[in-house]
């Protein structure tokens, strides 16, 4: 009896690992934008929702091949990220941080409501079923495995971009000292615009991976938005390594908590854990 008990616990832990990879990818975009531009996109999850709808419509309604639909969606959300920055963020770039939070909150309302208007409240399923992968007594959804792999790939690609390319170095530089960037000949506005597009692209990638596993509906942002924020704050806002670690820790709480109690209690436990950590390390585990 304890044998089976352990194996299913192990399965939960491993699923938590897979979930952690996905969370890590989601948190990257948010952390990148905050680390560079110093703004939290409260509507980040809603951007992901747009990407999910993009994949759904392109693939299911217009019969585009799945990978093409996904690539296009990444592009669409990258554009949305850029647009968000130019239209909404730029005017309040020098205002109080709360104004920036609130203005992206307004966009959150707008995107959710617009999605309801345009797409309706029904849950939409991509209709792509991937088989389960069996490992001994445990089974894992192939969608989860693919998502994990792609997420890790995204993380590595971002890391290489930031450390090996000129533009990536400029992005890291601007997050360390914004004021002297003009002395390097760099127009900060252009780097911000690029970072926003990159943040959008990461959200778009997250959307592709999420839509494989979950149905999309206008309020889906509420399901993983708060979690993404908390993970970023847990790891230290703006700290990508911290967010990466926090994602896996958080996911474990959800998976194991959900294993011992019901699924939602797993989330409750994770959130309470977050609040507790905030009291111990108010700036996040790896925060400054």
């Amino acid at each position: 009896m304890s044998d089976i008990f352990d194996i299913y616990l192990l399965e939960a832990v491993l699923n938590g690992l897979l979930l952690g990879g996905l969370f890590a990818l989601l948190s990257l975009g948010l952390n990148l934008v905050f680390g560079v531009i110093d703004v939290v996109w409260i509507c980040y999850a809603e951007l992901i929702m747009c990407g999910m709808y993009g994949v759904y419509y392109l693939h299911v309604q217009y019969h585009w091949p799945l990978l093409l639909a996904m690539a296009a969606s990444v592009g669409i959300v990258a554009f949305l990220g850029w647009l968000l920055h130019q239209v909404v963020i730029r005017p309040v770039l020098n205002a109080e941080p709360i104004n920036q939070l609130l203005v992206t909150g307004g966009v959150l309302f707008f995107l959710q409501a617009a999605a309801t208007l345009v797409f309706g409240i029904e849950f939409r399923n991509l209709g792509v079923t991937l088989p389960s992968v069996r490992l001994g007594e445990m089974s894992f959804s192939a969608a989860r495995l693919v998502a994990f792999g792609a997420a890790l790939g995204g993380v590595i690609a971002l890391y290489l971009f930031l450390t090996r390319t000129y533009l990536g170095t400029a992005i890291r530089a601007i997050s360390q000292d914004r004021a002297i960037m003009p002395l390097m000949g760099v127009d900060p506005a252009r780097i911000f615009a690029l970072t926003s597009a990159l943040g959008g692209a990461l959200a778009g990638l997250g959307a592709c991976l999420l839509v494989l596993q979950y149905d999309v509906h206008p309020a889906i942002g509420l399901s993983f938005g708060p979690i993404t924020f908390l993970i970023c704050v847990l790891g230290g806002l703006g700290n990508m390594v911290g967010g990466f670690i926090a994602a896996f820790v958080f996911a474990q709480f959800i998976a194991v908590g959900g294993f011992f109690f019901a699924v939602e209690w797993g989330y409750v436990i994770a959130f309470v854990f977050f609040i507790a950590v905030m009291f111990w390390r108010p700036r996040g585990i790896l925060g400054k």
Partner: protein, 307 residues
């Protein structure tokens, strides 16, 4: 006759709830977690009534006590460790989500996301049940809500006047300096948070008893918390009647659109609302009333957010 009464009640009720939030918000303590307090208020009275027959009047006291504990448990470490700005907003966001998740997860008791209804107490055509705090005559509700709203304004006014306001303004601008002249930062912040939380909790109680239906997404969670913040921003955070104007504005917008378009375009009001809020933050951060008053008096009102 009922419909305009209904609208008036809603405007005053939400005006009161938004005012409760702004007691904290205008002093730089921008919370995204007030959904937790409203949820506690709403669900505590309904659950105690439905399962234990405890009158909502007493249930309200229990809810207030519960809210006070939560406010102190979360507030104390936040203020002691100087969690401000983004971090404070996100911690409070986590709080409201915890509330929503707990309510949803505990579905056997609370009904989960389907919501819950207080057991009816108005039998055989009775229109008043004092013990159950249920009144079918909307005029009674109007009186109750109006009294509460006036109370909220009075509290806002008192907080505004008192030392606490000066202290907190000093704090929000220069924490170290304020601390050095003996203004006990943490205690002052906690007091304001407590007041705000208790007021919001009461709003939740009234909401549950008036609407006779609660569900976790309507009274707790990030959506309702954001709605409170926005209502205050739209109306004007630094003016006493600002939150009420905000409530009136959003309700009338929703109703106006409903009358114009019927139910053909659900969520059209929120779509427009979202756009307007973006525009408000960018162009009119002092809100409708704040901007109007500034124009009229030709001098600046309050200050922009400082956390």
């Amino acid at each position: 006759m009922n419909y305009p009464l209904h609208l008036a009640i809603l405007v005053l009720l939400w005006g009161y709830i938004y005012t409760s939030w702004s007691v904290m918000g205008r002093l730089g303590l921008v919370s995204f977690g007030h959904g937790a307090f409203m949820g506690i208020g709403a669900y505590t009275v309904v659950m105690l009534w439905n399962y234990y027959g405890i009158s909502p009047w007493l249930g309200a006291l229990a809810a207030l006590a519960f809210s006070a504990v939560v406010a102190l448990v979360i507030g104390y470490p936040c203020f002691r460790f100087r969690i401000v700005g983004h971090y404070f907003a996100l911690v409070t966001l986590a709080l409201s989500e915890v509330a929503r998740l707990v309510i949803t997860a505990w579905r056997d008791t609370t009904g989960g996301s389907l919501g819950a209804t207080p057991l009816g107490a108005l039998h055989e055509g009775a229109s008043i049940s004092l013990a159950a705090m249920q009144f079918s005559d909307k005029r009674i509700w109007l009186a109750i809500v109006a009294a509460c709203w006036a109370l909220g304004l009075w509290v806002w006014h008192r907080v505004d006047r008192s030392m606490a306001r000066l202290a907190l303004q000093a704090i929000s601008e220069e924490e170290e300096a304020a601390a050095s002249i003996g203004i006990h930062v943490t205690r002052a912040k906690l007091r304001i948070t407590l007041i705000s939380a208790l007021m919001t909790c009461l709003g939740g109680v009234l909401y549950a008893q008036y609407q006779l239906y609660v569900n976790p997404d309507a009274v707790s969670g990030i959506a309702i918390s954001l709605q409170m913040v926005f209502g205050v921003i739209a109306g004007g955070m630094f003016v006493m009647l600002g939150p009420t104007v905000g409530a009136g504005f959003t309700l009338l917008l929703a109703e106006g659109l409903r009358l114009a378009f019927g139910n053909r375009y659900p969520a059209l009001d929120t779509t427009i609302y979202g756009v307007m809020l973006v525009l408000f933050i960018i162009y009119m951060p002092k809100g409708i009333l704040g901007a109007a008053l500034e124009l009229w008096r030709r001098r600046p009102i309050g200050q922009t957010f400082r956390t």
